[in-house]
Symmetry: C2
Subunit: 354 residues, 2 copies
């Protein structure tokens, strides 16, 4: 692997000094980029794009080339893990993901294998290597996975959900079945992330998109506990460098202290909390990633810059901040606004360092 | 108006002693009840049900008769206020509400009148009086409205939304227009709630369903500020009794202190926060309403009872707790489970009082 030319992102994750605040965007390889839409069409669909290493590489690099972000994130989908466990996965046109045969019983859980990532998810490992060759050390590559709870939500609901009747019914009525599923997923995710690390990702993020639908006690029991189980199993060193772990729970603002105690290096914040408050609460333990409202990208560039300045000022002086949105960039954002965001962070953040 | 036979709910709202914890459910007059579905069909649709005082009364009384809740809540919809301001409102079959001509400019805002509730919302006032005759003092009647921010969200988006691009675009790009709309809505809602109080409701709840999509500073600027403006204008005494004000922000667990300082008597909690933590933070100032996960009603009755016991124990001894769900009851809940919930609160809560 090439020597890393820009390690701001990795340094900030570990609260080491940087010249300016690094920035990337969740879902930065996405539909708001015309180049992404072209590649996706060429691939013949979203899942095919995920499974074709050259094309996954192409879209992973696009935001690095076009926007100048400080980190690339592997292009993939969180649901390739349940698919690798034998669950049929479909993405209908204009629809969300679907599992036509959802998990609903102890027998279903027992029948799920823990996949070998080198075999069943080999295309992801190839993508990681292809991307690293393409990056040639320009910026670090982030790997990722969904959290066990978030994966389980899709696997039990059979897709997206409004009321979460099935997954919560399982958690409340059959907690032992729920725990068996989450345990299996935690081990599958740990093996998957370790394989990504072995093949070259330099940091990993766990996306807990649906942890925020739980009560505090259920979050700890059904979501956080299993993310901790993953973190304990991860190889935190690779090629002589620490591999930072980022934990992002959407809607987790009430649980920051517990999240910071999970063993992660970085806590991903959604936009509902002020970052100065988050730094006050957990900034002595972990770095923070976030947290501009993704909808701010609908505003005019000068308003976006004002918001960037406000967030930088709230975080204040010193390292330990990876600038990002508080959730993924949405498909209908003008590219110029995304560029204005990245540029504003790059230009405005120097004064808080050195 | 008849003398009130059961005033537990009103007393708990004001943190006065009660014999047991009062309980009601958000959306308790709703589709999970077969009786509701029958009446709605007879009415010929949801909006007609809202606008026919006798039928609105019928469904308002159903949960009192069938479940034995300690309060009735006026059956209506938050969007009747924008409709009374001249906006066409439609509910398509199986669809959410739609405003075919959404608000998008300063001129649109200026053109909206502040409605006279006695005239444009006279059917609501008739419903309040009809319901009070039907209740005959059995339990108090709660009136309600959407928060200005929540109403504005529907009015600007033209219906439900996923990314809130339009309302946030307005808030970020045209804050003066946004504030003009919210100011007008606050005054409209204050007049509307005061009319409900004059016609006989004994408490009011402000539903801030979409406040939780905002950042902390935007929540205070665009949502909480206007709820405070309403509260300042409300008649807090009626027929010799204080009229409690309940403020419910879904996703507001990070902002409880600010909400408790709004002048409300009761803070409605969603299910994501543990009620013992909420009591510790704001229980010396206000009563708390909530906060069982509505999805707990998918669990078996014995699990529901266990959860009720847990929440009661967490709140602990003394008054100041109105038991409720953390959000509205969902249509696919078995009626028996709703009954089990109400009964469990009634049976298990005595030990925490007297």
């Amino acid at each position: 692997m090439n020597e890393l030319k820009n390690d701001r992102f990795l340094r900030a994750c570990l609260r080491q000094e940087v010249d300016r605040t690094p920035v990337w965007m969740m879902r930065q390889a996405g539909r708001y980029l015309p180049e992404y839409r072209t590649t996706r069409q060429r691939a013949g669909g979203f899942l095919k794009l995920c499974k074709t290493p050259e094309l996954a590489c192409e879209v992973t690099l696009q935001p690095v080339d076009i926007l100048g972000v400080d980190a690339a994130i592997l292009f993939s989908d969180i649901l390739v893990v349940p698919e690798a466990m034998g669950m049929e996965l479909t993405f209908g046109a204009g629809e969300g993901p679907k599992f036509p045969q959802p998990v609903s019983s102890r027998a279903d859980v027992d029948a799920l294998p823990v996949p070998d990532p080198e075999a069943e998810l080999g295309y992801v490992m190839q993508a990681v290597e292809t991307i690293q060759r393409g990056l040639a050390g320009r910026v670090p590559l982030i790997g990722f996975s969904g959290s066990p709870w978030t994966l389980a939500t899709y696997m039990v609901e059979g897709g997206g959900s409004k009321n979460y009747a099935k997954i919560k019914g399982m958690a409340y009525n059959e907690p032992a079945v729920m725990h068996a599923l989450l345990e299996k997923l935690a081990d599958a995710v740990a093996a998957y992330l370790n394989a990504q690390i072995a093949h070259g990702v330099q940091a990993v993020q766990i996306f807990d998109t649906w942890g925020g639908i739980l009560s505090t006690r259920d979050y700890k029991e059904f979501s956080l506990q299993y993310m901790q189980r993953i973190i304990e199993q991860l190889n935190r060193e690779s090629r002589g460098r620490r591999v930072p772990v980022i934990l992002y729970t959407k809607g987790g603002m009430g649980w920051l202290e517990a999240i910071a105690d999970s063993g992660c290096d970085v806590v991903g914040l959604d936009w509902t909390i002020d970052i100065d408050m988050a730094r006050q609460r957990i900034g002595h333990k972990v770095a923070l990633q976030g947290n501009m409202d993704p909808a701010m990208l609908y505003a005019r560039p000068e308003r976006i810059r004002q918001e960037v300045k406000d967030i930088l000022a709230r975080f204040g002086h010193g390292s330990g901040h990876v600038f990002n949105l508080g959730h993924g960039i949405t498909p209908d954002v003008p590219v110029e606004h995304a560029k204005a965001f990245i540029t504003a962070v790059q230009q405005e953040s120097c004064r808080y360092h050195g």
